[in-house]
Assembly symmetry: C5
Homo-oligomer: 363 residues x 5
């Protein structure tokens, strides 16, 4: 059977490709897994009173909405179509380096402040229900004074609850500006880490039970792949902390004073995620150490059994061998009670060994 | 027998649940273990001269007290009743994010300064006397100019000594403001860590004796669960240090100048707790290393015994086997002193082996 | 067969030689591998409209170009000819310490600001296609208001794409100043790390498959040399991060305001490289641990097999030996069913052992 | 024989007791080992010209000295008599929190600045000559403009050399103020660490010799207890560094400008102690690793001996067993040179095995 | 044979002796290895035009030189003669704490700024050509406006190249002030670390070859002593970095603006040394891990050989033993092809075992 660590595919995905790295700056195309699905453009326009939702066929339709009143939210699913990204760049006058970063899905989470808009890159973690592995996806946000453009790699349900809150005018979201929408998206992404952590936590507990009852090689492989997933999760969440912190203290004109409290809340959540990941890593390390100590203990036990058997029976076999010899002159063989006497010697020998091992606490 | 690490239940409790994480911000209900007990409202009102203590049936009774004079302390036991928390929010005009944090018992310890009040989250550690494991509980404090609201998950006796000091007007507490009451609560919570550490310290010493005399698998499991408890304790106490430090240097209007000296004292205590936890972790790591080295040493000893027995008796058995063969022409068998001579050879062989092992310092 | 870690040659190269270290400061000659190839001088002169490219026979030809208009780029391949370096120093009035650093190829990456020019040292990583090992090379840059001098140890194709962009007037490079050319070179060098990392990533994945299927000593050697390559790569890229950061925040007159955005992009890339190297190191450490745990597991299995065989057959051999003895009086030998009975005893003994090992979960 | 790590007693001593932790702040009594000895009050009064030394029967005698002229040094040996500490508090008007800290001997080293005086807590390390273990003791200092009160747990000779310098007017001490006396005490305490380190250093060298010649379990226990002593020593000295640094940069009115140079010297010494402790820890870790590697090497050697013996003689024993069988038709047994031929086969077999092991470099 | 780690002598030397630590501050005599050689006083006096060099018999001769013009360099070899140090203190009016530090050769490298002069302590590393171990020596420098006093423990050739440059007026040294002479000395001392590192690098490579071809206990000892030498080297170079940095940014009147560039160069070199030491430590750790993994691998191989031999021949020996029994009624013994049949069984058994081990990949 060929063993396989489930995460290796994920590793390859997190590194920029050479092809892209060599390109002229500001002109890089899509970098990431090959995707064929057509790009989906979902458009929301709302203010406190009214609300419109539309799936756009092309970006040109966007002009029929005033982007000066209310809040516009353009959600783009799929960043592999360079034309659409260039078109967005033209409509909203976005810097070419930003467009390059949107298409390159190997970025770290970050915030960049431009004169008219904020550019935010997030890393979203979800669990692939089939393979039970963690998937990291990039979500880019461009936040203008009256609009938010969110670009994600593939469809997902992480933002559904936020969309519903807009549709049903639940909570504050309809009453507030684009910065609160930004907060809503960042908050959804960060909170989704908790459900990923819950999954991993359950997995850790299963393996702990396994470890305590019947540890084997497969468990070892599992612990290592879980540990590796945590390495990637940690690498993803760490810069998210900086993002939340930057947004909390930002004095960009698009971030209103009152929203800062909410970003502090998000910041607290990222710290909780970081700490949970660290705790999980500590626990995995502890489990591995326990596994290795247990193996070491068992080996010791095996060795003791071997030694006891060998040390008792090898000398006895020698003693039996002595009287199996065919020397012509062996007086003991002629004695009447030779055989009985031999047994006594053998039993005394074996008993002595047992007492010796008892004293050494091997029994 | 199914082995079980005692702490695993605690782990699951420290992570926010997905259900809550997905909710609209500022609207999150209770997060934590399911509890059925009715919420208990204990109300103190005191100044230097007089003192009233009352168990409230409902929060409405609170209005019969003037919260402008003297100090009011409302102690809420049980944070799973959302209605009561909402009502407190309305009476004292508390921000919804604070109310959310009160109900979510998976917070880190922290201080948040609002215009009219301070919001302090503490982690309280106690020892469950039955299972001998550490229990972490969240205590939230809302500190206004003339009132303190403390909210804890379940009843406990950590604050009893403080309550008695108020009742008996012992110490400074009756003469001072809400900030000193805050100090009293924080100090009680921090000092309770010392009794938890004492418990763990005793446990470590027991296991050390065990380690030096008869180490086995159960000890190994114990060391690992103790180590894990320390991980959780450390995670709880670390942000408490920041809390004490923030309070010490706070210039919030509710914290008077003179109280800062007392918070410095609390800060010193949190540092002592942190250092003790670190020292315990170092000691546990040392014990584990000693355990593994001891096992390794023992394995070496077992191997030596095995090797000595095998190396002495296997050749002898071969020599005995030689003269047990039935070849027709074996001249030695006919010699008169063949048998005696054989014994001499065997004894010389065995003696040579013993000298060889002596030289190798295996004996 | 003599085993050999492939990287050792590289280590020796990264340390300054004693001979040089002892020399008078500011007078140090070439330090590095001995090279015989003649120094190559490649000269570009361009502005937005026109473009000249020339291979110079001697540095004197440079005077025929006005270095006050447009941008001049002198690319020197080979830094082992002290005369040429001194001549450059004279023509562009460069400080002697800079000239010493150019010739000493064991520098760390750094930026030094002088009144008229910036001095930048970069470390370039490439993969030697034959030996599949990482080669680190030093690239020194002197950046004046209208010129850039780049000095590299040997010819390579890392800058080819940049040269083509100048030739074809692709991208911004022809429209901008010497600071943008500096950016172009730094960006090319940093982006080349990604292709090196991709190579190493592939290598790691190969070894991971190897590890899971048939681990052996050669794999162990490979993992260790890869780990060591990462140590050197990390040592090279770490100061590059500082370089990018310094350039991003530099207020030197040769760096225009608008270029800072581009250096921020480079800085992001260096951080990605640093993180990838760290992640690779974590992965290698994990692989090593997995290797060792697997070996430990296998040893345990081997021990069990040995113990089972020994513990079953050694007692049986003894029992057989008993009835091979030649005592005259051994009643069992005369019994009619003695032999059959003996077999029954032997089979019961062996069966008992098997049940015992089954209970211990060794089977 | 019951093994015992010598340091464990020390651990228990370094933790505050629960009883104290629960008490009302500022009212805590003595915390530490139970002591019965009467408190000793040693009083010095000196200026450049004259000098008085007296053992006080009670603190009331102190009033006969003017504490405004010259320098008064009150040295209190024994902090378990609460009455005396309260009395000192009244005479010199000391803050209750300071008095609490004096009596609680589990403090970290620290400096606290009050309006009229400095409060300094030091940790003094001495070697118990009987048990050869490190003893940590708390020395508290209250430094007023013209007086120093030093409080220590038990009598010792660390300050004797300082006392002699006062008596004999050697050095600067009689010419300078209370800050220089403070310096003298801190310097004596810090310098005493060097003699403790010298002791430990000797112990390490002894164990190193032991390790290289005949490592055994007792050595392992010793290394672990030494390592643990270093953990405690490090915990004690680390905050001493901060103390020296704070005193060096203090602008408290009781510390004169010129004394700062001397505190810088003390600071240098604390750093040397910290570095020595770190170096010792590195050395202990190295010794442990060497020990474990040596054990591992020896186990390997033992295994080889076992394997060589077993692999050579077990097949030979089988060959001998073959011709010990009693089959009626065994042609070899009748051959004339059967027996001689058998020996040839046996010797070839054994020789082949030896060559095989030689090739594997096991011999 | 008694094994011995070569470095242990060096350890003892790096700790201050108790005797000194107890002395009155500012009065400490020589601390270090006992030396008998007379102190050598070498005196240089130079300016751009002229140059005098003289070996002084006593310090009184120094007055015949004007120390106000040109640069005076007094090089004192041997710091164990207290009288000479006191005399220097008087002539140049040096603070007593400086004189104490000069005589105490266990200092860390440091810079202390006094009003009229700078006091610099350096640690010089050289290789003892006989024992091939690293020797650390203290060099103290007192740098006045027109003079430099350098004090070293024993004669060495590290500064010879600098002296020659003065004699031959090579480089800048004769044209510049005492700060450049200071630079010259610091630079020589730092650059000498490179030759020490080169030596260690060669040693590492030798041991690496050894490791890959025939690892044994002696190699293990060597790796550990090398690792320990690196600990001491690191401890020595680390504060040198701070020294170079402090000198680079010093605004002391004795350090001219233009010299700062040169100290930056020295600072770069110290960083290179620090990094090389760290890299060497990483390499040593890697080698140790490789060593241990190799031993572990070999043990596994030995175990397999043992198990294969035992598992094949122990059952066969039993089968041979069965037919060596002397039961009267054993039908197989009478069969005509009993013996031949027996061989078939034996060969099948052995073959089966071989196939089993092949499947388990042990062969």
């Amino acid at each position: 059977m060929t063993r396989r660590l489930p995460i290796s595919r994920g590793i390859r995905k997190q590194l920029p490709k050479t092809s892209q790295a060599q390109a002229s700056p500001g002109s890089g195309g899509y970098v990431g897994e090959k995707r064929e699905a057509p790009v989906k453009l979902q458009f929301f326009h709302y203010d406190e009173q009214q609300y419109t939702e539309k799936e756009l066929a092309s970006l040109d339709e966007i002009n029929s909405f005033s982007v000066k009143q209310g809040i516009s939210w353009l959600n783009v699913t799929g960043v592999h179509d360079e034309l659409i990204i260039q078109q967005i760049g033209k409509i909203f006058s976005i810097h070419p380096l930003v467009l390059e970063d949107v298409a390159n899905t190997t970025q770290r989470a970050k915030v960049e402040e431009y004169d008219d808009y904020l550019f935010v890159v997030l890393k979203m973690a979800t669990i692939d229900q089939e393979t039970k592995t963690v998937i990291l996806e990039q979500v880019s946000l461009i936040v203008g004074p009256h609009y938010v453009i969110s670009l994600q790699e593939q469809e997902g349900d992480v933002l559904d609850s936020l969309r519903n809150r807009i549709r049903l005018a639940k909570g504050r979201v309809r009453k507030m500006g684009s910065d609160y929408l930004l907060y809503g998206i960042v908050d959804s992404v960060v909170d989704n880490y908790f459900s990923v952590l819950e999954n991993i936590g359950t997995s850790i507990e299963e393996q702990e039970d396994w470890l305590l009852n019947s540890p084997n090689q497969e468990l070892l492989d599992n612990i290592y792949s879980l540990k590796r997933e945590l390495v990637f999760l940690r690498k993803a969440i760490w810069p998210m902390r900086e993002v939340a912190n930057t947004l909390q203290h930002s004095d960009h004109s698009n971030i209103k004073k009152g929203t800062s409290l909410f970003f502090r809340d998000v910041y607290d959540h990222t710290i909780q995620v970081v700490e949970a990941v660290e705790t999980f890593r500590d626990m995995m390390t502890g489990m591995l150490d326990l596994y290795l100590s247990t193996v070491s203990n068992k080996m010791n036990e095996v060795m003791k059994v071997l030694t006891i058997f060998a040390a008792i029976f090898i000398p006895l076999t020698f003693v039996a061998g002595v009287y199996g010899m065919n020397f012509e002159f062996m007086p003991e063989l002629k004695w009447k009670f030779g055989y009985a006497f031999w047994w006594i010697v053998v039993i005394l020998l074996a008993g002595g060994m047992l007492i010796y091992f008892k004293r050494k606490k091997w029994l």
